[in-house]
Amino acid sequence: MRIIKETHIKFMSQRRASFMVSLFLILAGIGSLVMKQGPKLGIDFQGGTLIAVQFTQPMEITHIRSALNAVPLDGRVIDLSKEEMKHFGGETNVAIRLTPRENEGEQFVQSVITHLSTSFPDLVPEDSKDFILTIEKVGPKIGAELSGKAVMAIGSALILILLYISIRFEFIFALGAIIALSHDVLITLGIFSILDYEISLPIIAAFLTIVGYSLNDTIIIFDRIRENIKSNKRASYIDTVDKSINQSISRTLITSLTTFLVVFILWVFGGEVIHLFAFAMMVGVIIGTYSSIYIASPFIVLLHSGKHTK
């Protein structure tokens, strides 16, 4: 079977349009990031507490809010009704994110959970250990450290990759690849911001995987360009790049399809915990495929012509 027949698409002549599309996507993302004052960070980076509990019947968020407007804690009564709350997986599960507060004490989380279970005595699972789905508590210090680590991780991954491609190919190939990668991460970040999705530790892992994946695609094309330059030195640079993309297009699309398939399955069936992770991967696969054809390759054409006219 063969879906994609031999193609002769002039990809490079479409680059103006593709740059416009990318620019639009990036600007929309940056606009959203600026409006919302940066990406929405999870407790991994900001510190705080996430509590997810499970009731026996569907639970309205508004009920939880009104229950949490007076939580007794250590002789005080605190109002948590304005904290962020949402369903977690299903209608019966509720996740509450509590911002870190000073002097919250060790009993804080336990008080909230006890208060929740006494507020809805009929809706708490019989086996009390089934009530708590998850509790994550990250101190502000750890949060700041994890942020630093995440930035370091993405930064050092980019530098190492730049180095590797410079050695294996040419420096302009490395530049083209890095531009495409930054493009992918920026757009994914933008989409997360527009959709109001949280950036957590696993999402950073997803970003790095996107980086690796998109690079994979890009390098397959670069490899072909390298081969074609060697075998036909007289052809123009643009023609060579176009030819290389056309030669590898069926592989690019098939691989993207199979990868997309598995992350799509993960997104649909993988459960709440990795739902957003799979979403980031899905976006990454699409953007990564697009960018290796329409961003990385045109950029090396641009960089190459810039180098030779000087």
């Binding site: 063969r2 007794p72 002789g75 005080r76 009564v77 605190i78 109002d79 997986g89 507060r101 336990q110 250990k129 089934d130 708590i132 789905l133 998850t134 509790i135 994550e136 508590k137 990250v138 101190g139 210090k141 750890i142 450290e145 942020s147 630093g148 680590k149 995440a150 991780a153 050092s156 190492l160 990759i161 590797y164 696993p202 892992a205 790095l208 995987t209 690796g212 994946y213 690079l215 994979n216 397959i220 490899d223 081969e227 592989r251 098939i254 691989t255 399809l257 199979t258 990868t259 398939l261 598995v262 992350v263 399955i265 993960l266 069936f269 459960g271 915990v273 990795i274 992770f277 799979a278």
Partner: protein
């Protein structure tokens, strides 16, 4: 798959449920404990330090040296045993802190072992942190207490009632002059009908609920709607005493007032007042429920006025065991902990009890008074018992921590992740399901699209997955949920190598090469592309492994091995199969 995960590969806490806790040793507390002749400059410096160590990646001893210079502290004054110059002393303090954390590690291991958790992980991270992983913990609160309680057992003599009364009067007097309280009195009418304050049970008709935040001008706590229950006129006259109740001869603090009382006790001049009387105030461990005159139940927590220095500490405890009080005694049916002391302890205990017959002695565990019985007679054998536990589990845990010994330095929980058993099993089910569905779809696609060659790739893919699982098992790596995600990703990416090769073979076939030559050309041309493309992903995986914690590491491990093995299976395994099929035959067509 499930069998594999259960039997061979260790599951991460996010799959089987459990608790992950990062504890940090309280170094400022440690150097304070070690210091002698503590004065105000030293206290200020340490207080500042406690703030600074919260900065990310802060090195405590570097900060400590800076603080010493900044505050002009003469270190030998506080640590004369450790040397005469700053560097020597700081080096010794470092040794002490290493030693302390190792002891903490040892004690925590001991406690967890006795608690009975299967395969706990307790390890040091960096110089001041300990990571504890407990699988299948069902009661996080209990586990938390077990790990975090310092288990410092102390015996203090209780000050006599008259001293306590005069202390209360003095504190009242101190507070009466306070400007904050003056403001409170004048602004009281408005606060009385503050809608945000919670309606509390009133004891007297004139009772007002007064938001504590107003009382002390708290900043940034708009959501604190705490209120104390006081009699308004009494409060004006005796601000401190009015917050207290009589609890069978002891002072008691209604639960609603605890926060206000704690605030008052933390005021500078109140502390000075306590110090000048060589006393201190400690809360009791459990509340008593009293039914007030109007029939409303009220929880009241006892407050004790104790000497400021303990007469005996828990280091002398040799054996501790929990028990239900015997039928005959006053503690019938209640959980108690029986203590046995060593020779030295027994001697001291007999001296103390002998010298103070008729007085009361408070048994204090981690700054909470468990009981304060009268000493009826001299106790010679070193035996004693503690009461005042909520249930037998608490008594059992306290016995464990007392046996394992007190932590040389307090520890704080700085990160905590708990996954309940139901979420864990959901994740396993959903993860396994996703792997199976994703895998089947890819296998099916390859079979349809590349026919015979596709079946070879499918074989290689399955072989690849088995190898990855085998490697994980032999590395004793834990499979986490992100690990399963990486496994699925490996499926997607490892098929890629075969797609690259097959597409290349097809291309060579179109050029008119024989199947044999096309296969050779396809493999040799595709190999550089595959290696270059995969190495970059390996770089990403390595970086993740380096910087990641817990779940991310799991993801990186699987991704790393997945890619390496997929390169091997896609290139060598499929090649071998191809070769064995084409060997010696003159193939005219290739099913690809």
């Amino acid at each position: 798959m499930e069998i594999l995960e259960n039997k061979i590969i260790r599951q991460g806490l996010d799959l089987k449920g459990g608790m992950y806790i990062v504890l940090e040793v309280d170094l400022p507390a440690l150097i304070t404990n070690l210091a002698l002749n503590i004065d105000h400059p030293f206290e200020n410096a340490v207080e500042e330090l406690s703030e600074q160590v919260n900065a990310p990646d802060a090195d405590f001893f570097v900060l400590f040296k800076d603080a010493v210079t900044k505050h002009n502290l003469r270190l030998p004054r506080y640590y004369h045993e450790y040397g005469a110059n700053v560097d020597d002393i700081v080096d010794r303090l470092k040794d002490e802190s290493d030693d302390a954390i190792n002891r903490v590690l040892e004690i925590l291991r001991n406690r967890v072992d006795q608690f009975g958790v299967s395969e706990p992980t307790i390890q040091k991270q960096g110089s001041s942190r300990i990571i504890v992983e407990l699988a299948g913990i069902q009661d996080p609160e209990r586990a938390r207490a077990l790990l975090q309680s310092t288990a410092l057992l102390e015996f203090y003599l209780v000050k006599d009632g008259e001293l306590t009364n005069s202390l209360n009067l003095k504190i009242d007097k101190l507070l009466k002059g306070k400007e904050e309280l003056q403001e409170l009195v004048s602004g009281e009418e408005d606060m009385g009908d503050d809608t945000s304050s919670v309606n509390t049970e009133s004891i007297l008709s004139e009772d007002k609920t007064i938001p504590v935040s107003e009382l002390f001008g708290d900043e940034g706590s708009e959501d604190d709607t705490s209120s104390a229950v006081v009699d308004q006129r009494l409060f004006e006259d005796r601000p401190f005493s009015s917050l207290l109740r009589n609890l069978g001869g002891d002072m008691g603090v209604p639960e609603k007032n605890v926060y206000a009382v704690k605030k008052i006790l933390s005021l500078e001049d109140v502390r000075a007042q306590l110090e000048s009387g060589n006393g201190q105030l400690f809360f009791g461990n459990d509340a008593q429920t009293i039914i007030g005159p109007d029939g409303v139940e009220e929880k009241i927590i006892p407050l004790y006025h104790l000497e400021d220095a303990p007469d005996l500490t828990g280091g002398v405890i040799e054996e501790a065991r929990e028990q239900i009080g015997s039928q005959a005694g006053s503690t019938a049916g209640q959980p108690i902990v029986l203590l046995d002391m060593n020779n030295d302890g027994a001697k001291q205990w007999s001296r103390i009890t002998g010298a103070n017959v008729g007085k009361r002695i408070a048994i204090v565990l981690d700054q909470k008074v468990h009981m304060a019985p009268f000493i009826r007679e001299k106790i010679i054998n070193g035996g004693t018992q503690i009461e005042g536990f909520a249930d037998i589990n608490e008594a059992k845990d306290i016995a464990i921590v007392l046996r394992a010994g007190a932590l040389p330095v307090p520890v704080n929980i700085i990160e905590e992740r708990i996954v309940g058993p139901s979420l864990g099993s959901d994740s396993v089910r959903q993860g396994t399901f996703s792997v199976i569905v994703g895998l089947s779809l890819v296998l099916l696609f390859m079979l349809i699209y590349y026919r015979a060659a596709g079946s070879i790739a499918d074989l290689a893919l399955i072989w690849n997955l088995l190898l990855v699982l085998a490697v994980l098992a032999s590395l004793k790596a834990t499979l986490t949920l992100p690990g399963i995600a990486a496994l699925i990703l490996t499926v997607g990416m490892s098929i890629d190598a075969n797609v690259i090769i097959f597409e290349r073979i097809r291309e060579e076939l179109r050029k008119g090469k024989t199947p044999r030559a096309a296969i050779d050309a396809g493999y040799s041309r595709a190999i550089t592309a595959i290696v270059d493309a995969n190495i970059t992903t390996v770089i990403a995986a390595l970086v993740l492994f380096q910087f990641g914690t817990g779940p991310i590491k799991g993801f990186a491990t699987v991704l790393f091995w997945g890619i390496l093995i997929s390169m091997f299976t896609a290139i060598f395994v499929t090649r071998t199969i191809f070769n064995s099929f084409t060997k010696g035959k003159q193939l005219k067509t290739l099913s690809i």
